[in-house]
């Protein structure tokens, strides 16, 4: 196994994913196989190759810094689980 349980726990925390205890064994095994599989890239000779950033080498466009959208907060917040007075509610973060 190229990854162990501690590493998978660390990755899951980085990704903000809570896994159930029974999911760990499976994740260690399958993620290890994926990592072993992509490890074959190490053998490729890429000296001096510029990493690809965009398939057509396009650059990001800029637009004038002007207001183009209107306020639709109420409609967008219909998809939120908990809102109040236009604010999204989350568990208390400051005591």
């Amino acid at each position: 196994m190229s990854l162990d349980k501690e590493q998978v726990q660390h990755i899951a925390m980085l990704a903000r994913l809570k896994l159930k205890p029974e999911e760990y064994a499976q994740s260690v095994e399958k993620l290890s196989r994926i990592v072993d599989f992509v490890d074959q890239l190490a053998a490729a000779d890429t000296d001096g190759v510029v990493p690809m950033a965009h398939p057509l080498h396009a650059t990001q466009r800029l637009r004038p810094d002007a207001v183009t959208d209107h306020d639709e907060r109420d409609r967008f917040q219909q998809n939120a689980a908990a809102v109040s007075d236009g604010l999204y509610l989350v568990p208390k973060v400051i005591e």
Binding site: A15, R16, Q26, L31, T46, P55, P91
Partner: protein, 487 residues
């Protein structure tokens, strides 16, 4: 009235024009068919019956006024990855099972403006991550050619809808083969255009440097028609390309006399099912008999396309899917202890196994100490692969080969082995990495299951791909074959 569900988009368009039937009649006929047969296939996440009938009425009224759009009154279905205002847009995930989109994707908007009637939203692999439709929260779609088999993925609901004659055309998205592989496995046509050709605005993101929208139809002619409406610049997509859209339907009529077709030796190696290879070689011989010439081309780095993809795509996915936090939209875990618990449990409970696997793979290859060895390295190999294609397209107009290594596989066969599943896209991933347009065209059967011919072209060569596919379809009738249970 004659059977409407067997007709192509182009045939239905002519029928509407001649007033042989109305859009409301056509829409009702297909909705009835869907109501009768959908349970066998699990094609739809949502059937938009009321919206469809209202759109059909508007289309008929527009026709009566003489005000007809390019797709006036023609029924289509959307992959459930395209945000549709007022309609559930699930992306095949529990995470978005409760999400009613507050806006339309550009693709949805453009097709509606052209008069298309949307019958429903099709099932798909969760967040488009899968090659069999088995990762969907709503259960797998079944292949109309054999109900024990997968219709491919991730656009499996769209491919099955077209193959089962629920609709003449469907939208799809393709990040590593998600339009072309399901098209091959269901005997339909699937085209993934050049990266940036079709707007990604409102198309739920998986891997943004690879994702591209396209169509699944029964004929290349229909694909040309639909793509012409969908393609074009959109200022709301920062990677949209500002280039004029050719009239694809006009371009496909020309002969392929003199077309240079490249053949890649590795595409016919041991990984390919022998009978599938025979069908594909017959198709290439047919292109030759129509005046095309074949040339062997070399893509030295193509063997690394799958491992390259499985670094780049998960990296981008882990970043894109960080927006699902249980706060603004989507699934939210019950009774969180604190904010971190809210994030971690909403994501842990809301995402399925394969999505979590890819998010973690992405988090790993981007994490401190591994970024250079994996992500940067993969982007370098990606540049080599793109270079390979560029060199090849100096010599040939298209590259032809198999779309998938074998015909449709049985549901359950590969679900426990991610690498086996990933290798299903071995012939299609290269086009995504290099941003190239590519199409799959039905080219025969093995054991009564369809086989697809894959054609890849240089950037913006959609016309050549559609023309080659259309000219081939004028000489063959594989695309007219209908699964027995869905005649």
């Amino acid at each position: 009235m004659m059977k409407l569900h067997t007709q192509t988009l182009s045939e239905l368009s002519a029928g509407l024009e001649r007033r042989e039937f109305t859009s409301v009649e056509l829409t009702k006929a297909l909705l009835d068919r869907i109501a009768t047969h959908n349970d066998k296939l699990n094609v739809f996440v949502t059937i938009t019956k009321d919206e469809a009938l209202a759109a059909a009425e508007r289309a008929d009224a527009a026709r009566a006024r003489g005000d007809v759009g390019a797709l006036n009154g023609l029924p289509i279905v959307h992959k459930d990855i395209f945000c549709t205002r007022g309609v559930k847009t699930s992306c095949g995930s529990r995470m978005l099972d409760n999400f009613i989109s507050p806006y339309d994707a550009t693709v949805v908007e453009k097709l509606a403006a052209a008069g298309a009637v949307v019958l429903g939203k099709t099932n798909m692999d969760e967040f488009a991550m899968g090659s069999s439709n088995e990762t969907s929260f709503y259960g797998p779609v079944k292949n109309p050619w054999n109900l024990d088999c997968s219709p491919g993925g991730s656009s499996g609901g769209s491919s099955a809808a077209v193959a089962a004659r629920f609709a003449p055309a469907a939208t799809g998205t393709d990040t590593g083969g998600s339009i072309r592989q399901p098209a091959a496995l269901t005997g339909t046509v699937g085209i993934k255009p050049t990266y940036g050709r079709v707007s990604r605005y409102g198309m739920i993101a998986f891997a943004s440097s690879l994702d591209q929208a396209g169509v699944i139809t029964r004929s290349a002619e229909d694909a040309a028609r639909l793509l012409g409406v969908m393609a074009g610049f959109d200022e709301r997509d920062s990677t949209s390309i500002d280039q004029p859209v050719p009239d694809y339907t006009a371009e496909i009529g020309r002969s392929i006399e003199g077309l240079r077709v490249g053949i890649v030796r590795q595409h016919f190696d041991a990984g390919l099912d022998e009978q599938t290879g025979v069908r594909v070689k017959e198709a290439i011989a047919a292109l030759e008999s129509m005046g095309a010439t074949t040339v062997e081309v070399n893509l030295p780095s193509i063997d690394l396309s799958v491992p390259t993809y499985y670094v780049v795509a998960p990296a981008e996915c882990s970043s894109n899917l960080s927006r699902f936090d249980g706060v603004r939209f989507g699934y939210r875990a019950k009774d969180p202890e604190d904010l971190l618990d809210l994030y971690c449990r909403s994501r842990g409970e809301g995402f399925g196994d394969e999505v979590k696997r890819r998010i973690m793979t992405g988090a790993y290859v981007l994490s401190a100490g591994y970024y250079d060895a994996y992500y940067l390295k993969a982007q370098q190999v990606r540049a080599l692969i793109a270079e390979d294609f560029k060199r090849a397209f100096a010599e040939v107009d298209v590259i032809a080969g198999p779309t998938a290594p074998a015909p449709a596989f049985r549901l359950g066969d590969k679900v426990d082995d991610p690498i086996q599943m990933y290798l299903n896209d071995i012939y299609t991933i290269g086009a995504n990495l290099a941003g190239l347009p590519a199409i799959s065209v039905p080219c025969g059967f093995v054991d009564n299951l369809p086989v697809g011919l894959h054609l890849v072209g240089p950037h913006f060569a959609e016309s050549d791909l559609l023309r080659c596919a259309h000219q081939y379809q004028l000489q063959t009738d594989f695309h007219r074959a209908c699964p027995e249970a869905f005649q």
